[in-house]
């Protein structure tokens, strides 16, 4: 081990003994979130500043991979977790999260503006979006009009994500299941010739699309908003299908093992307030669940909204998942 000079050792000891004192003055709220939420250009920094301004506490975000990895870490840590709040699960994960027994009821009568409404004792939504195929209108002037046209477009090539390793990948799996039900396997077989490749995560797929390797990539209806607002590029569009679009609803919940339950409740209420919600659109590139007082940022009004929103209830999503993955594997492995 490294030997410390006496002065440094003394300083270290002083620092260590001083730390708990400081912590006692300001309680710390630990929030586990997915990586891109916490990153400098995600909502994390602004949310931290806004909440700390009113809570008299120290808000600590901990980055824990993506939503699925976050739940895995909570399960691994069990009751000994430091987390007070977990933020960033979606409805494909909440059934499993609820079953883990790690979460406590939030007790908040939420009034959220969400297609299909919301009613869940453990989890509260903070944003949502629709999955969609994104294309470049300069390269693809006439995108397919619906799922059937997508499968039948001879020269069209799309890139999607693997449902076993990616959230949007799983979203598409559920989307197709919702639209085609029993005939989902048949649809995947017909779609297979259009699929350039399947990637591990969203980044690889979207990167390949931007490089021109595919005409369309599975992403979100809000993806064009980034290109429009941040880059002034209006060429990226999301194709809207009349069958409806599957939703991703992102939620947060309070851990039963939290040592700051009141602070956690306060954070969840803050999450639904205008201060938090107005940060979401241009940092997380999703729709807020409460319309911001000043309206959505300019550029969002250009985004098409699907006429129908599709979403399986969490229990059903979980029950369908494994068989749907097998169906997908079988269809694409031929």
């Amino acid at each position: 081990m490294m030997k410390l000079p006496p002065i440094a050792a003394a300083a270290l000891a002083a620092a260590l003994s001083a730390a708990p004192l400081a912590a006692e003055e300001r309680p710390t709220l630990t929030v586990y979130a997915y990586d891109s939420f916490v990153s400098d250009w995600g909502p994390g920094p602004a949310v931290e500043k806004a909440f700390e301004a009113e809570c008299g506490c120290d808000l600590r975000f901990v980055a824990a991979g993506d939503g699925a990895a976050l739940l895995g870490r909570l399960k691994l840590e069990g009751a000994r977790t430091e987390a007070d709040v977990a933020l960033g699960l979606d409805t494909n994960l909440t059934a499993e999260a609820a079953e883990s027994g790690l979460f406590a009821p939030h007790g908040i009568a939420a009034k959220v503006d969400l297609p299909g409404g919301w009613d869940d004792p453990l989890f509260l939504p903070y944003d949502y979006g629709w999955f969609a195929f994104v294309y470049d209108s300069t390269r693809l002037p006439e995108p397919p009009a619906d799922f059937e046209a997508l499968a039948n477009a001879e020269n069209l090539r799309i890139v999607i994500q693997d449902p076993r390793s990616s959230t949007p990948g799983l979203g598409l799996l559920m989307w197709v299941k919702h639209v085609y039900g029993e005939r989902a396997g048949d649809y995947w077989r017909r779609l297979a010739p259009r699929i350039v490749t399947v990637t591990k995560g969203w980044s690889e797929a979207y990167g390949m699309f931007l490089e021109g390797e595919a005409d369309m990539a599975l992403s979100y209806t809000t993806s064009p908003a980034y290109h429009l607002i941040a880059e002034g590029d209006a060429s990226k569009k999301a194709a809207i299908f009349p069958e409806g679009h599957y939703m991703q609803v992102e939620v947060a919940g309070k851990l039963a093992a939290s040592d700051q339950p009141e602070l956690a409740d306060r954070f969840l209420r803050f999450m639904l307030s205008d201060k938090f919600q107005s940060i979401i659109p241009t940092t997380n590139w999703m729709y807020p669940v409460a319309a911001p007082a000043q309206g959505l940022p300019q550029g969002f009004e250009t985004l098409p909204r699907p006429a129908r929103s599709l979403l399986f209830p969490p229990e059903q999503a979980r029950a369908l998942r494994d068989a749907a993955v097998d169906e997908w594997l079988d269809a694409l492995s031929r």
């Binding site: 990153s39 400098d40 250009w41 991979g65 699925a68 076993r164 980034y226």
Partner: protein, 558 residues
């Protein structure tokens, strides 16, 4: 008498350290998987995890693509290494140095680079379309092989160049005097070197490709290209089934170790030949056919490796203007991980190498130690991470140790490369100077300085550089243990992409490549200048091997 006793104690301590290194490596690979298994087993509700039919398919694909990737990379490296070994041309040193680059590219950058050349809208397809030919479709096994050969052909080439450098100059002179040319020369000089180095190179590349996951999937065109690594990841991510993930990891580990040991057994070690370490001068291959073959090998490899690399560099250069301020502290964190990993990796490699040498009289035991050194490469990093997490949790907060854990796992993963460089060097040092040192009664530090260090210095520098560079680029372990105070550079690249900031991500990737590559070259340079005699030796050092490219034009044929 006291002198003797001190030596015995030192030898004993050295022996203990060697066994400790072996134990540490096995604990990281098998131990952490076992730990995950134990924990997962306790949480099992519905009986033991079953081996599924899809696992067999994944295993088949994994082995097939890894074996083919390793075979093609190794075979293609033979003409390339021979051409680089016997030709002197402008930019040769730079070309050899750049061989390190494909291996150090961040995965996603490499995927996009390969796609930019070979994809359906890439350079090759555009050229084909211009000629009226159909656009080639690489997605599937061809795509996987293209990418894996792009990564690993340079690695095999560097290993063979090391082998060429170990052939004493005297032998080349003798071969020349005997008038050996063409096939006869190849059979006498190149082939024995290949018999010694190729199995090791094959085993190494095989293991690197077994654990490929994102590359295999993206270029494999879909779920047909599912590797076992994906099944393990899925078990952890989807079902949080630690027991299943650990079982699959152990199956992969066991199988890989068996295959690696078999491959290593094929390696026929040449007895190291003492030489005066004179500068190698080669006058073979003057014929038109030989010159044409070498030129073809060099040009083909230059295009094959250079184009995707160039595409990646061009994207990065365009993004440098968008490089965010966070890139610098992130680079600092990656630098710390890199230095820690390099230090630990050298300690482990020296420990294992001395152990293998000690056991040399029992070849099987020595081989087993070598194979054990490979084990961390076949263990999925996220399973190692989980295992370490479970082992450390009763003692401390593992997430507070994100960077040290990343360094440790990466040190174990770089160990096979380090061992492959250090073990032959130690063997050669013993063969060349051992008897003389014995006669002179050199022991301990004096022996290390006079007999071992000169032979060890260069390979040690290279191994440390490689370990540092690989750790700087880690994304497997760090994704599990995101440090609280900020991301490492690869994590930053990932976050930039997730935030749609593609230009900034490309710029940060270029910075990452510069950091990895810079570390790689810096260690090499430091190893050269560590010895006071280095300056004198530089003029007549072995003219081959891993030489960096800043002394362009030197070393041309007289």
């Amino acid at each position: 008498m006291t002198r003797f006793r001190a030596d015995t104690a030192a030898a004993l301590a050295g022996g203990l350290a060697s066994w400790a290194a072996l134990a540490a490596v096995l604990a990281l690979s098998f131990g952490s998987a076992g730990m995950a298994l134990l924990h997962g087993w306790g949480a099992l509700e519905g009986g033991a995890p079953a081996w599924r039919a899809s696992d067999t398919r994944a295993l088949e694909f994994t082995l097939r693509q890894a074996a083919l990737s390793a075979l093609i990379s190794t075979a293609a490296a033979v003409p390339l290494a021979r051409a680089l070994a016997r030709r002197r041309f402008w930019g040769r040193d730079a070309a050899i140095a750049l061989l390190g680059a494909p291996f150090l590219l961040p995965t996603i950058v490499a995927i996009l680079g390969v796609v930019a050349v070979w994809g359906r809208s890439g350079l090759v397809a555009d050229a084909a379309a211009a000629l009226g030919l159909p656009r080639p479709d690489i997605y599937g096994l061809p795509g996987v092989l293209l990418a894996h050969v792009f990564f690993n052909l340079p690695l095999a080439t560097r290993i063979f160049l090391q082998g060429y450098a170990a052939i004493p100059a005297e032998r080349w002179r003798l071969a020349e005097q005997l008038g050996l040319e063409g096939r006869a020369l190849f059979a006498r000089m190149d082939w024995p070197m290949l018999r010694e180095s190729a199995p090791g190179a094959f085993a190494l590349i095989f293991l690197v490709c077994v654990t490929s996951f994102a590359v295999a999937l993206a270029l494999g065109g879909g779920p047909r290209a599912t590797t076992l690594e994906l099944a393990i990841y899925q078990a952890l991510r989807f079902d949080f089934d630690l027991a299943r993930a650990a079982l699959l990891a152990l199956a992969q580990l066991g199988l890989c170790m068996a295959l690696a040991a078999l491959t290593l057994a094929l390696s026929r070690a040449r007895p190291p030949e003492p030489g005066l370490r004179a500068r190698i001068v080669r006058r073979d291959g003057r014929g038109r056919a030989a010159r044409a073959t070498d030129a073809a090998a060099l040009i083909a490899a230059g295009l094959f490796l250079g184009l995707p690399l160039g595409a990646a560099l061009a994207r990065g250069a365009a993004g440098l203007a968008a490089l965010p301020a966070q890139a610098w502290p992130a680079a600092g964190r990656s630098l710390m991980v890199a230095l820690g990993s390099a230090t630990l990796c050298m300690a482990l490699a020296l420990g294992l190498a001395t152990l293998a040498l000690r056991l040399e009289r029992r070849p099987w035991a020595a081989r087993a130690v070598e194979a054990a050194g490979l084990s961390a490469l076949a263990a999925p990093p996220f399973v190692m991470g989980m295992g370490l997490f479970l082992a450390l949790r009763p003692l401390t907060d593992p997430f507070a140790l994100a960077l040290p854990i990343t360094a440790a796992i990466n040190a174990a993963m770089a160990l096979p490369f380090a061992l492959g460089l250090i073990l032959p060097a130690l063997r050669r040092a013993r063969a060349e100077y051992g008897p003389l040192a014995d006669q002179l009664g050199l022991r301990g530090l004096a022996r290390l300085r006079a007999a071992t260090w000169p032979a060890l210095r260069r390979p040690l520098g290279l191994a440390a550089g490689l370990a540092a560079a690989l750790a700087a680029g880690d994304l497997g372990v760090i994704a599990l243990f995101a440090p609280a105070d900020g991301p490492t550079l690869p994590l930053l690249v990932q976050r930039l992409m997730a935030g749609y900031r593609w230009d900034a991500a490309a710029g940060a990737s270029l910075l990452l490549l510069a950091l990895s590559f810079g570390l790689f070259l810096a260690f090499d340079l430091a190893a050269r200048s560590l010895s006071p005699r280095a300056a004198r030796r530089r003029g007549r050092g072995r003219g081959l091997g891993w030489r960096p490219g800043w002394r362009l034009g030197r070393g041309r044929r007289p």
